[in-house]
């Protein structure tokens, strides 16, 4: 199976201090597959999503590496061309549904604008499509909802709308950046189910950024465990939950709450494991410097 998204040796740093943010990251995502990016805050998981979408903060500088989208290296195309490519093939499900919809515009145009202005659909077909996807995410009375402002809807409704909006243009890849973190636990589960269902029905590849291993087990096929911008383990979900190989992965898994054995869960990641991971990172940096980077 050919990869739709292929990241090879991606390294990035902060322009000012030179601090490394990503360390030679390799990630491969086949057409229609779901990969979880997990790690603690600051591990660089969101950074990878942003690099793919081309919305890295100005202070972040990509040092080397390739981001191949459908075989095309995004690092080598002009910014306008890149914006067009990504706009047509990739969509984002953002983290915070409360600020991801424009508060002073109605819902309808926020879904259809992109179809009309970027992808050249007619207004009528865009409106029809918007109604379809809204119905697909189980929004009642989509015609009425399209005329409302975001503040008239609940957080869960807004996240559904954002999911509908992401799927509206039939993208080949969706980057979901912690899409359930800002929601109530009860709503989280529904939203996850919804994303999963839509993903498999549309055959969209999904890059799922999260710190929640429970979410990964429900949604993803494969996962990459990140620490300090380095991929510690790249494996399938079954293998990871059965027997994580890397000590850091094991510790991360042990730190996750479980219903079956509450006493054994919620362990902090042991210092020795962190030291080990840091040593690996330092070794990688040394090797990188030695080869002349």
């Amino acid at each position: 199976m050919s990869a739709f998204l292929e990241i090879r040796g991606l390294s990035a740093r902060l322009a000012g201090t030179g601090q490394r943010l990503l360390r030679s990251v390799d990630i491969s995502l086949p057409v229609g597959a779901v990969r979880g990016l997990v790690g603690e805050s600051g591990a660089g998981k969101s950074m990878i999503g942003k690099a793919v979408l081309g919305v890295l903060p100005k202070a972040v500088e990509i040092m080397e590496g390739e981001i191949l989208l459908d075989g095309q290296d995004l690092q080598k195309v002009k910014p306008a061309e890149r914006r067009r490519l990504v706009g047509a093939k990739v969509a984002l499900i953002p983290q915070d549904p409360l600020t991801a919809l424009n508060p002073s515009r109605r819902i309808g145009p926020q879904i259809t604008d992109r179809l009309v202005d970027i992808l050249g659909w007619t207004k009528a077909s865009a409106a029809k499509r918007a109604l379809e996807v809204l119905a697909e995410v189980s929004i009642p009375e989509p015609e009425r909802i399209m005329r409302l402002y975001p503040h008239e809807l609940s957080g869960g409704m807004r996240q559904r709308i954002l999911i509908a909006s992401a799927f509206a243009a039939e993208p080949r890849l969706i980057v979901a950046d912690e899409p359930t973190t800002a929601l109530d636990v009860t709503v989280q589960k529904q939203i996850l189910k919804l994303i999963s269902a839509l993903q498999s029905r549309h055959g969209t590849a999904l890059l799922f950024v999260t710190h929640d291993l429970g979410v990964v087990s429900k949604v993803c096929d494969t996962l990459s465990v990140l620490y300090a911008g380095k991929v510690m383990e790249d494996t399938t979900v079954e293998r990871f939950f059965a027997a994580p190989r890397h000590p850091y992965s094991k510790a991360l898994l042990a730190a996750t709450p479980r219903h079956t054995d509450p006493a054994a869960s919620l362990l902090p990641v042991p210092q020795a494991v962190i030291d080990g991971a840091m040593a690996e990172v330092a070794a990688a940096d040394a090797a990188w410097s030695a080869h002349g980077g």
């Binding site: 081309g54 914006r83 067009r84 990739v90 953002p94 600020t99 991801a100 919809l101 424009n102």
Partner: protein, 283 residues
Amino acid sequence: MLDGRGSIRRRSGARLWLSGLWLALFVLAAVLAPLISPQDPLAQDLMLGRLPPAWMAGAEPGYWLGTDSLGRDVLSRIVYGAQVALVVALVAGTVTCAIGSALGLVAGFYRGWADRLIGRLVDIWMAFPPVLFAILLIAVLGTGLCSVILAIVIIDWTRFCRVVRAETLNQSKMDYVHSAKVAGFTRLRTLLAEILPNVLPTIVALLTLEMGIAVIVEAILSFVNLSISTDQPTWGGMIAEGRTSIYQAWWVLVFPLIALFLTVLSFAQFGEGLRERFDPVLR
């Protein structure tokens, strides 16, 4: 929740109504001045000098708010004075708003060298004391309505620029701007279609405030006799003239002052009321 919304609406309702009523009166007076003013605002009659308002002893019929020391009717002069105030408020307010907001949007959204350049310019501008700056400008530009308007624009654009820049900066950090970028929209389209509608309520509130300020600045310039020619009555000019006879004829000073006060207050209240009514986030 329902109570809170209701009370906001009621308050802004009364506010909009009262200030709107005064502003409507103000506009009508300016437009219909030749038809409604009881006397010729320029006609002097020393025999009728310093007549008190109609309800005081010694008043003459037809001179409702009394006369000044040259025998000119105060009410008619206030009505004609509204003309200058209205033109200055509308033209100076709008032009100032357009220039300041455009620069603020550019600085706040594009950042970089544009932001640094505009920011320095604002810093330098703000270091001048505004009234002295205005007087200096008029001295260079010469007196007249156009000069007054130009002076207001040159002085006050920074007010819009600073506030709009800050608000644009705030909005630019929101996820919806981020999403627009991912979707492939151009920067200009994102600025005009996504950010501007969110900054607009602030701009409208500032615009009405600025209209009030423009009226005050014009009055200040009239007060120091640097506004427009003396055969067009202005509120500032009336206040300046009334000052000299405040102990003998207080009405010459007090009535134009009240007109000025109510107009400036109404502009500010009207803007705030509009913002509360039309901002979808507040609503």
